[in-house]
Point group: D2
Chain length 346, copies 4
């Protein structure tokens, strides 16, 4: 059994890791830490885990975690994963960070968008960007995984195949994303206060969201050149789910069928990527609770543009599910281990 | 592998059975039937099953179903399960009905509340009421299971232990239940039209809901005498979940702790029943997607009354999960097989 | 024009007062105070008021408020309205308190449930309980109004007429209430964090909610004797609305029609009380945004019990609308002035 | 008093017209017709109107309507308003159509997108497109008003000023719109069934929605040349509100402040258009229930693009409120008559 430690277990991604891991046949939760809830049982903080987890949240102790765990997940505000990673890696264990600290190859980009100095730029070279559909081979041998952001996951799954295939132009890309509120975490804020969010849709961080450079970094890899996107995140009144609606200029008058064909070819054999039939559009509800991504596309001959649709559960494929998928890769397990369940509908 | 047939698979309970069974290690879906969607793939009707089920919905053919299946689940409007049951049982197979056709020991009660003639009253003697926490032994040897209604499940789990223990009176019971909208099924109706239900809470079928006699039948067993309840169902603007708030007169000045103690004693070892600590109240969100029931209680010395709280997912413990739990019992499997997963939170 | 001051204007009831008063033909908002947002424009804090209010929030200055206003509304945590009231009344102006400070005739009851010493018990004799349907005449001459709680308003409208008519017993009353989340105010709390409340129904403060003694005080007046109720509030995933489902023992086998007849007789001519036809049940959505209450009833001969249903908008008839209704009474205006608009549906 | 007839009053836009008109000081509802509910009281079909409307729904009788009304609102499926309009106009009365029958100057465009033959193309020349902010003068003298679609209203308010000012290019426009479910009307459909829509966001009619040519027609007027837009509507889990997120290429490196300045200049004096301060983004909740539109903008120097945000209530400014605004213009009333109320928040 793989012994797992979760640092920052009292947030939503931490709880979601536990939800997934309690039925993982080859892993077990060994240590859960929390600054705010140390000393409480996980099931007291999250009653849905009553009967499934009897672990008690602890304060973080790097020696204990490194001693008792084979792999550590960090679910922390940016900047806080660096010291944990250093300590864990030094002790020969592996680390999967669900935050932003290791997602950028270029520390300067991180520093420009996150406005902090990166304290271990050398680790950036070691880290592998944890999108298994694109980096599977490198992930198998990795010690340090940068689990992607939720918006980048949804966006990249839609764009990378078409960019690589050369059917869309890397110029003029627009990503209009709609996210459930759980993506904002469990911290209290008027912006996530029920009465303010319910029956409301709104954009936020227009043009300045920190997932923008992450998207652009990976699109540049796919396009072989620098890419700039307009990225606009929106909050919609639901708990889970991201729908990314992506607009791209077609390089030639491809049909909807041809776009879907590119997807199907690129993702054949992928257990978690479902390309929907022509005329069927992804909806977040169909992937809620699962590690799947649903993809759809429309080629619009009137405008010469492709409209791409990508739906994921922000807490699963957009965070904790993908992290477990990465863990499976790191430990040589089949990627679907512990993740082979459909979502909840309705 | 147990071969399973689902008759009426294109409704929500049918889809939920498939969601659960695709990861059941000892069962497999062999036949899915639907009147409205025959010929379509299940995953076309329910996209969340894309990649998890490749079965095609068929029209119902009793010979085929009986030949290919070990157990048949019926998820049909009342009255329609009787002929299926007869045919399936005659062929030596087992049947679990998710509707009301076999829930009553007395055909006259069924006929009075459902306003149809029962066409096979003899089968009522054969049927076992499928609440494993109360009828486990009888279920092990059963061929015909009457899977309980969602409201009765939530209500009985709260009331039966306290009635049996004699701490509450069988007179003056009041059940005020709040249900998510999925309980009303997938059939179109202005009452379940989004814009009419959202931001709305309302009572319906006050005093005349058909789950009333079902609740009363089982309470009478527990109390050893006839019982009458005031039962008021409400629709709340959410998809899944039932919370039953039950009011009962205490027979003596018991404390909250003593009520919870009765629950804990009664349900010890039960894998799906969680008695929450004093001061913690069940919430539907904590059981969404799981087969668990959460129970809480408050003894109010001011009024001499107990307030009991019971939360389940109406589609899981209130329908399809409980049906699979019953199937496990019928086939000698551990009851938790295929059901040992926590709910989804948030 | 009546000059109005609102103390604590940056909460939901404060904003709702402004929403109503900006179209009141005989009143105008003169002073808005807020501790947290002083110096900001009201429309900055509440963008829905953009173009309707150009007032700036100020810190509270009793001299200024008393000098510039004819009537003061206090929307403050309990205990905080007492000094404001004293100062305002001393200066010969009127005060309508939307909190609990003046709702109890007996200071000891207040002190027992709110666990603070009442600092001006003498004012309790002066205060009139602001339910115009029951205390209209006394309100006309009042200087100090205790605006009722949201749950008591919904509950009392359903119970008082039947108690006074003697058709239900004062013993054995049960109030099961469901409230939208706005009732919890704008203060941040995990209990009102979107992802925790959405898709969730739960009870809270079972048996100990502070609206209980307020309900009991007024029921005692109607019954002519002490009354004890079981009161259980629930949070449902919607922003506005309270539905109270009330259970009462019938003193004789009255019919549903007779119960409704009592309501119709009692409330004839009342502009804000709508008694729905037999078989139609109140729903919160039908009163959202309006000052109306919808009432329904079912007599259940099986149990000898009446089930009473009462729906209001917690922020309007349950708070700010009723406060303006009271203001109209105080100033000799028609009660519907500024309040004669239907709710928003859907 | 202006006598108003509403043809198709049992849908959401019909009910919303009644909600607005019952407090309109210079108009009164004279006739309400409905095919499905004729003979029922309006308040029976829509309980929120109990106490506000005692009118009975009738079957449509053109002579009666024309005789008793000064102006007729048609809220009918496309194609059905043409015969009503003809009959009403012949009798010298005015007509405001809330559907698509008179929105296009070119019958061929209508016929291509709506796939029916237009039966009175001559009326298209007579009809005035009812966006008062753009066509106020022509509306004052009009007899036939084509009330705009909800998506076009939100979109055009954002785009027209910037196109006319020449700060954005007419090429490359993308409109990503999110709508509440009430926009789909009261007709039953699995797509608007509560359990399918709740906790779900999805695109629909991608590239083929019928509001596309309406948007393009009006943008062409503003741009002085043909315009093609990518228009993608989405359904979000809320009842009311549209947020249009619009992407446009800046013709020069304008700042956010300059974009907002164009809006403020263009809309100065407009009672229903609120341009929000820099950094504040429109949200649907702030305009729910009101006839206001909130506008915001961000100039993104990284991409050379403007992101424009426009929020309206689809049933008010997007339908019935705008229709009443048009009626006011037709009858020489101040435009805000009966419409000068803020939205409901929270």
């Amino acid at each position: 059994m793989i012994k797992v430690g979760i640092i920052g277990a009292s947030g939503y991604t931490g709880a979601e890791l536990v939800r997934i891991l309690v039925r993982h046949p080859a892993a077990e939760v060994a240590v859960l830490t929390s600054r705010s809830y140390a000393g409480k049982e996980m099931a007291e903080v999250f009653p849905h885990l009553t009967g499934f987890s009897d672990r008690v949240l602890e304060t973080f102790d790097v020696e204990k975690v490194a001693a008792e765990c084979d792999v550590v997940f960090t679910a922390l505000p940016h900047g806080h994963a660096v010291p944990v990673a250093r300590a864990v890696l030094e002790r020969g264990k592996r680390l999967i960070d669900l935050g932003a600290d290791f997602r950028f190859r270029d520390a300067a980009v991180y520093e420009a968008w996150y406005r902090v100095v990166h304290e271990a730029p050398a680790l950036l070279q070691e880290a592998v960007y944890g999108l298994p559909e694109f980096y599977r081979e490198r992930l198998r041998g990795a010690s340090l995984v940068a689990n992607p952001g939720c918006y980048p996951t949804a966006t990249l799954l839609a764009l990378v195949p078409l960019l690589r295939a050369g059917v869309i132009a890397p110029e003029g890309l627009i990503v209009d994303a709609k996210s459930g509120v759980s993506g904002a975490g469990r911290g209290l804020d008027l912006r996530t206060h029920y009465a303010e969010v319910n029956e409301n849709v709104q954009a936020y961080n227009v043009g300045v969201h920190r997932h923008t450079p992450e998207i652009e970094q990976e699109l540049a890899v796919a396009a072989g050149k620098d890419v700039r996107v307009s990225f606009t995140p929106h909050l919609v009144p639901q708990t889970r789910g991201i729908l990314a609606t992506v607009y791209a200029n077609l390089k030639a008058p491809f049909s909807t069928g041809e776009l879907l064909e590119v997807y199907r070819y690129f993702y054949q054999g992928e257990p978690f990527i479902q390309v929907l039939p022509e005329g069927v559009f992804p909806q977040t509800k169909s992937v809620a609770g699962s590690n799947c991504a649903h993809l759809g596309a429309v080629a619009d001959p009137r405008t010469g543009r492709a409209v791409l649709l990508s739906a994921i559960d922000n807490l699963v494929k957009g965070a904790s599910g993908q992290a477990v998928q990465n863990m499976n890769l790191l430990f040589g397990l089949p990627e679907t281990t512990g993740l082979d369940f459909p979502g909840i509908f309705p």
